[in-house]
Symmetry: C2
Subunit: 411 residues, 2 copies
């Protein structure tokens, strides 16, 4: 019998009524002759409440103990879920991460999965049971409980789907799928029917709250088909899968805006080997994640260097740059924290011309000034003023017809 993994997020299991509704989804799959494995998150705001409880006794709780505490939320959900299935007459068994040997490294609060005891799950499925696995958690080789970080239940689900050779991993959520852009800004944003792993990863900021990036990486690595869909409506959602030829017909799959970024520029750095390395090794030591590095020569001796960081890393980054700037003979440092990044993403860019032109044209027409531009093979990003971010995203969304299903757009 084919296996399907169904993952239910916190909002989809927040109370008894919602657990029963989720159970009905599971039962439907059983009736369709699937062996079903359910992965669930903590109910509603449980994880936030547990974190608040922790901070009340210790503003800086030891991470091992925090993992021990937080793991309980998901265990509660899966045992209640199993009870709901039993009430409907279905035989179900719930497991903690440890019970199915979800082995991880020992990096508490953001552990990585090493292996899964698939045989333990298969054994129960083969007995005709619905298997429920607490998401987000594992154990290390010493038996300590670890957690995979926020959104880790998505990763649990995709990893289990991989380990079991499942047909599909369904991610149930409170929206009906992935949209071409943020519907809070561009109200008519279309739902995406199908998208490649790479596009989804580039659209990660869109996915925030919908789909965890690491889960997509996992899906890509092991080729698991991921189906993001509504836990309320019976509609088909968004399939995240391998790139298929027909995807190339879609020039732009989606557009994103990121507002929580800052840009740091070093003007007039000595243009000699090793200087860039000095700067970025100092930033790495300060644990600052750096994106979109741009270096331009301004003379034979001097270059300008700029990069993007998350706004939460700004003070650490400033300090790191201060420490290194004299060493590289930097004339001036500038910082912009009033910016946003607008991106368009699509595997079709590889074979279509004129995407950049259309994007810049749309921004110009909307009178949005472009600070700088970076591109990857399947993405074009423009830095704009933060207070123009929403009009920029809207202009780009209209230009690429992101309110229409992919097949109806102008070629």
């Amino acid at each position: 019998m084919p296996i399907i993994v169904q993952k239910f997020g916190g909002t989809s299991v927040a109370d008894a009524e919602k657990i029963r509704r989720a159970a009905a989804r599971v039962i439907k799959a059983v009736k369709n002759s699937f062996q079903v494995v359910v992965v669930a998150s903590a109910r509603g705001k449980q994880t936030d409440e547990l974190i608040a409880d922790a901070l009340e006794v210790n503003p800086n709780p030891p991470k091992r103990e925090l993992d021990q505490l937080l793991s309980t939320g998901e265990i509660q959900t899966v045992s209640l879920f199993a009870m709901a299935l039993a009430a409907a007459g279905y035989d179900a068994i719930s497991f903690t991460g440890g019970q199915i040997r979800m082995m991880t490294d020992s990096v508490h609060t953001k552990a990585r999965i090493i292996s899964i005891g698939a045989d333990r799950i298969h054994k129960q499925l083969d007995k005709g049971k619905i298997v429920l696995v607490a998401g987000f958690q594992g154990i290390d080789e010493d038996g300590n409980i670890t957690t995979l970080g926020r959104g880790g239940s998505d990763t649990t689900a995709v990893a289990i789907a991989t380990a079991l050779g499942a047909e599909e991993c369904e991610i149930y959520t409170d929206v009906d799928g992935i949209h071409t852009t943020d519907p809070w800004i561009f109200k008519t944003a279309a739902k995406i029917d199908q998208i490649s792993y790479d596009e989804m990863l580039e659209l990660s900021s869109l996915g925030a709250g919908v789909m965890h990036t690491r889960a997509v990486e996992f899906g890509k690595k092991y080729g698991v088909k991921i189906h993001v869909r509504s836990s309320i409506e019976e509609t088909k959602g968004t399939i995240i899968t391998h790139e298929v030829p027909q995807m190339e017909g879609v020039v732009v799959s989606g557009a994103t805006v990121q507002k929580d970024m800052a840009k740091i520029g070093l003007v007039g750095v000595d243009n000699k080997p090793g200087n860039a390395a000095k700067i970025f090794s100092r930033l790495a030591k300060a644990k600052v994640v750096v994106n979109d590095i741009v270096q331009t020569e301004i003379s034979t001796e001097k270059a300008n260097l700029s990069f993007m960081i998350g706004i939460s890393d700004l003070s650490a980054a400033k300090e790191a740059v201060e420490q290194v700037k004299d060493e590289v003979n930097c004339e001036r440092v500038f910082i912009r924290d009033d910016i946003a990044e607008i991106s368009v993403v699509g595997v079709g860019m590889r074979t279509h011309y004129g995407v950049a032109e259309k994007m810049f044209g749309a921004l110009a027409e909307a009178e949005v000034n472009i600070d700088s531009i970076t591109t990857s093979e399947i993405r074009i990003s423009c830095i704009v003023d933060k207070d123009q971010a929403e009009q920029a995203l809207t202009a780009v969304s209209i230009a690429f017809e992101l309110d229409k299903p992919a097949q109806e757009r102008t070629k």
Copy 2:
């Protein structure tokens, strides 16, 4: 270094402030050069809340899943407790039942402990850590989570004290120790300084909410000194220990009343071998726990038989008796559910005369009618009308001077 086990009940760890207060107790023991193991229950009303959550999805939840669910309450407490100790600068590590290999049988919701991975606890203690263990839970040999039943954290604590060879097992609670009788009825009931395991077991109805019977049995079996004391005040509580000669000087250690009982009588049963066995095997099949069986001959052919049961078993017991009564040629069945049992307990009864006389005299003076009497080596119990229960207990308490410390009573 000597080891001490400290157990904190739900009310003693109900919120952050109380957890900090409990942590202060632990730190005091560390400063007194003890290696400390802490066993804790679920916070406040958590277990009740989880049971309510379960009943909301399934009025008859599978017991394995109920255990999986309920075990989370204690895990939350011990991880928060470890965080509180860390905040105070002490190195602590929390464990689930499974993590310290608290092995039990597979009888979900009332499992019995088989063995404990004491080496795992010793290893952490020897590293200088305070070890916290989630009470009330274990795992069976298949790795399923089990629970020990209500009050099971007491049993966990005493079992760990046994396994570690601890000096003492301290049970912290919201009262200052065990009292000679119910202070809600006899307000001036004295605190008992020292009591034998056997007396404590006989006084189990007193212990309800204070000390779990199975924990006392465990303590008796392995000779663990149990100290029931207040989590709020710094006073000495009640020591439950082996019988020592001086205990014999105390005629009556305590008095109890049990109101949730019923009496069933079979009048005129054929007095021939095997009839009693027929009746009680039928009751056993119906899972009715029977106490205080009394059989009296009324003629050479006929006997009367009566016994006590918990009131919650009354309908099951009635049905069982109906099924068997013709077979034993019973003339009439009577049932009394308007009764209460008043008992006095004391190891001193073995060597002192006149205890029964004093008890009956006190009841007579208070104009309490005695329905029937049963005795054990260290206990005398009288069945009285339920609406006279409180005046009966008061009369007995005054007669045996249960408002005074043991050493001040009339010899």
